[in-house]
Amino acid sequence: MTTFAPPAPSRLSRWQPGKRLSRWFLTRLQQRRGVTHLPRQLAYRDIYILPTPFGYAFAVLLIFTALGGLNFNNNLALLLVFTVGTLAQMTTFLAYRNLTGLTVTTLFAEPVFAGQTARFQLRLHNEEARYRYSVQSAKANHSDGDCKDIPPDDSACLKLPQSASERGWLSAPALRIETRYPLGLFRAWTWLFPSARCLVYARPTANPPPLPLMGHGASGPSRRGEGDQLHGLRTYQAGDPLKRIAWRSSARHDALLTREMEAPQERACVLDFDQLTGMELEQRLSLLTAWVLLADQQQLSYSLHLPTLQIGPASDTPHRLACLKALALYDA
């Protein structure tokens, strides 16, 4: 069975006179409210509620039915309208209740490269004993967003994609947490102006030139025990991983033998900003970023030299992250 197709972009939705107005309103609101500090529990003054377009249409339908019922003094029709109308009115409260008391715990995003999409993750916690259905989050002025149920005493993570085009810090956009529960007649929502930000690394150059290798690294003889080249066999010691045991040789020697591995001999390189002459700043940073990734992939020991700081040499993950961050935030 298929779910309903998403709404088609109609000519109507492209024509948005209210967009500028709502942007203006949002700016005013942000000025007044300031940054939303997390964690924050949604209270009744945070929550707005208005009918959806369908809600208005439904009201018109009910009013017409009621007019007909009044004119012909058709009491069953009136009873129908009044009961459905009262229920519809009560859904305002249900929608409000679906949000109130919810705690916005964290908003956080993993670093991405420029040109990728930053994925902010909004964590909502429900500390009450009732289920909260279909809680949605969306960027302010965007209609659609991620949707989750939040069971009692549980939390849920809502994703908010935001395209990251420039390196540096990407601030989380103004957010909306909203719900149209239960009937879609009313939309209850709250605004969030979080201070969270996402680190955006420089865009790595595609197909970069080869790394500027500088002979052997200073790390000395190869390290035993790890790596993927076979060094030799030795007798088994307690604690050796099972997959390292050379079963065939062990059978021949009547004793357990363990394969000893070694990493290939490390090479080293220096990624120097100043040597990349004749290039624009962003191009240099992009190339350096690409090289950092390449060197890391080849498990080289590398160091990054920027006019303001030097990092390395090293070849581990924290080093790579430090290099990428330095490049992302490099300020000429």
Binding site: F4, L78, F82, A129, Y133
Partner: protein
């Protein structure tokens, strides 16, 4: 993928099917097929992942549907036709129901379709129909909403708490909504007179006696067990022989059928029975039949509003005032009234008119009898004796009659229904030169002792004759009574020794008659509730002569008070009450602090709560901190303190907020 029960589409299709059910039962078979097939198609399309039909096909189908509707109903002005159009188009809309928007439109329109069905019937079964459709529509809307919310980010919603718990939740919600809805129902300002009426051509004249009588027309009604009207008598109840409810009076005969003379409409009755002296006073509650006749016992002494009384005592509603909804009127009747001791020449000629060259054998017989009998009364007795002594039968399935229908009936078939007897008798009287006319209406009724009212069903329809005798005036003669006296004494169903259909048993009829009191009560209190009843009801509690504006104000006040009562209920709905009294009070304490603007939440420890309260409420710092410390000691400490005192302390604590210079 969620279970089908969590998907809106099956529910939506089922709701559309349920909503169109009453209409389907009145539609011709091709239209029923046309209505059902889109539902089937949409269901299969969902199962088999079919694509939507091309728009050209859908447009073609729509026009085909329109053409079939026009062919079946003649035009689209009648109410049945208009509702048929709505039904067919709603079903067709399912064909393009692939977006949440369309699904919502369909779900809301099922409610509208449901309310249009109430135009045709507001009986008790319709209540269940209405409840079913509204539940289906609301459930569909809820599921559509859920799928739409999740679908926008490309997800399928997981199943929620399960249908049972959600239905439980929904029914509790309904329980809250119904009292509010009733308050609105009772207090909503009503219109004394409608803003717009129904055009005459949109009436369908569903049931009841018509303006003409052909052999078989009353027999059709005889199969119909729906109530025609109910009468509650003040004082004495007439005897069964007097229960002749007068309806359309037929003057014109064309050899085959009798018809109501349209000219009679303009002839108003001049002399009426004295209403104050009339022995029978009663109130009639008439079911809507979209026709113009009111029924009364001979001879009516009152003329209700917007009604005229014709020369031959027909109570006719004015144009544009056909009985389209439950109609109540008071009536008095005087059976002893002498109707027209003098007959004008025009009326006399009208009551003697007969087509030439019909029924020669009867004419011959009547002329022979006329010569043999000394006067009119003797002739009448002669004719009735003939009916009584010859082997005439009272039957539901009379043989078909052709051109000389009276001849054939009188000499050959000798089997018929009341209309045959009334028609034949009247023709014979006219042949003998006695002014005569056919009266149609109802005879008898079922007396409900519990409700103290007389129930008259469509199956009680009857036809009899009236002849005019000099000095006496118009006199009622019921030739059927001469053939089958039990027709008048026991009613038509018992006079026949045959069942009308497979489920027609006397005991079933008894039960149904007994339950009619429910229908009547429903009519009285729900369907018949109007501006007048509303003001009566408010008068009982001492509020009189309210304008619409005051009523609206009263309604607003009641709703406001209702909300005050309902909101705490709603707040508690679905929440689990904390069993531990101390923890409950602690949470409320934190809630009150948070309401007063202290930045606390249940996630904070007692000391943090105390500190936050102390810094934000300087005047109550000591008290708040003490409560927090006491709570900490009792919950996590070794020694048990005075638990009750702490509970009371937490309960009584109220944050006093004051504006400190900001």
């Amino acid at each position: 993928m969620s279970h089908w029960r969590q998907h809106p589409l099956p529910w939506l299709i089922a709701t559309v099917a349920l909503a169109s059910l009453p209409q389907l039962m009145t539609m011709p078979a091709p239209l029923v097929l046309l209505t059902l097939s889109p539902m089937l198609w949409r269901g299969l399309a969902a199962l088999r992942h079919w694509r939507p039909l091309p728009s050209l096909v859908r447009i073609a189908l729509t026009f085909a549907g329109l053409a079939m509707l026009v062919l079946s109903y003649g035009n689209l002005l009648g109410r049945r036709a208009a509702v048929g159009l709505l039904t067919v188009m709603l079903a067709m809309k399912l064909l393009e129901c692939f977006r949440a928007r369309d699904a919502r439109i369909v779900a809301s329109l099922t409610l509208f379709l449901c309310s249009t069905q109430f135009l045709f019937s507001q009986g008790l079964p319709m209540v269940f129909y209405g409840i079913g459709v509204s539940c289906g529509a609301l459930l569909s809307l809820a599921l559509i909403e859920r799928h739409d919310s999740w679908g926008r980010s490309g997800q399928t919603p997981p199943s929620g708490l399960g249908l049972r718990r959600e239905l439980g939740f929904g029914s509790r919600l309904l329980l809250l909504a119904v009292p509010m809805a009733l308050a609105v129902f009772l207090l909503f300002p009503r219109w004394g007179t409608p803003l717009w009426g129904l055009p005459e051509q949109s009436l369908d004249a569903r049931s009841g006696l018509s303006t003409s009588m052909t052999p078989g027309s009353i027999q059709g009604l005889f199969m119909d067990d729906s109530p025609a009207f109910r009468a509650r008598f003040e004082g004495s109840l007439p005897s069964r022989e007097e229960l002749y409810w007068r309806g359309p009076v037929m003057w014109n005969f064309d050899g085959r059928s009798w018809s109501f003379g349209g000219w009679m409409r303009g002839l108003e009755r001049q002399t009426l029975p004295n209403a104050d002296a009339a022995p029978y006073r009663y109130e009639v509650q008439m079911e809507p039949n979209e026709r113009h006749w009111l029924f009364a016992l001979d001879y009516p002494g009152l003329i209700p509003d917007k009604t005229r009384l014709t020369e031959d005592f027909q109570l006719l509603r004015q144009r544009r005032h056909a009985i389209t909804s439950l109609f109540r009127y008071d009536m008095v009747s005087d059976p002893g009234f002498q109707d027209s001791p003098e007959l004008s020449i025009v009326l006399r000629n009208a009551a003697l008119q007969l087509p030439e060259q019909f029924n020669p054998r009867t004419r011959e017989l009547v002329e022979r009898w006329r010569a043999e009998t000394p006067n009119d009364a003797a002739l009448v007795r002669r004719v009735l004796a003939h009916f009584n002594q010859q082997p005439f039968r009272y039957t539901l399935n009379p043989p078909l009659l052709s051109r000389h229908s009276v001849d054939e009936f009188l000499f050959d078939t000798q089997a018929g229904f009341c209309e045959h007897y009334a028609s034949t008798f009247t023709v014979m009287m006219r042949m003998a030169g006695i002014p005569a006319r056919v009266v149609t209406g109802y005879q008898g009724g079922w007396y409900n002792e519990l409700g103290n009212y007389l129930l008259v069903r469509q199956s009680d329809a009857h036809a009899w004759a009236e002849i005019w005798l000099p000095g006496v005036g118009w006199t009622r003669i019921d030739p059927t009574a001469a053939v089958a006296p039990s027709r008048v004494e026991d009613g038509p169903l018992d006079a026949l020794n045959q069942r009308r259909h497979a489920f027609d048993f006397p005991w079933m009829r008894q039960i149904r008659n007994g339950f009619d009191i429910l229908d009547r009560t429903w009519n009285q209190w729900v369907i018949g509730f109007d501006a007048a009843r509303q003001s009566n009801l408010l008068g009982i509690i001492g509020i009189e002569k309210l304008q619409s504006r005051d009523l609206a104000l009263l309604l607003a006040v009641v709703l406001l008070l209702g909300s005050v009562a309902v909101v705490p209920w709603l707040k508690r709905l679905g929440k689990r009450r904390e069993r531990d009294a101390l923890l409950r009070q602690w949470r409320r304490f934190i809630g009150r602090l948070a309401d007063a603007g202290v930045p606390v939440s249940a996630a904070l420890g007692p000391l943090e709560v105390g500190a936050a309260a102390a810094s934000h409420l300087p005047t109550q710092a000591q008290a708040a901190r003490q409560l927090a410390q006491e709570y900490l000691a009792q919950r996590y400490g070794d020694e048990a303190g005075d638990r009750e005192a702490l509970i009371q302390g937490l309960k009584k604590f109220r944050a006093r907020t004051e504006k400190h210079g900001s």
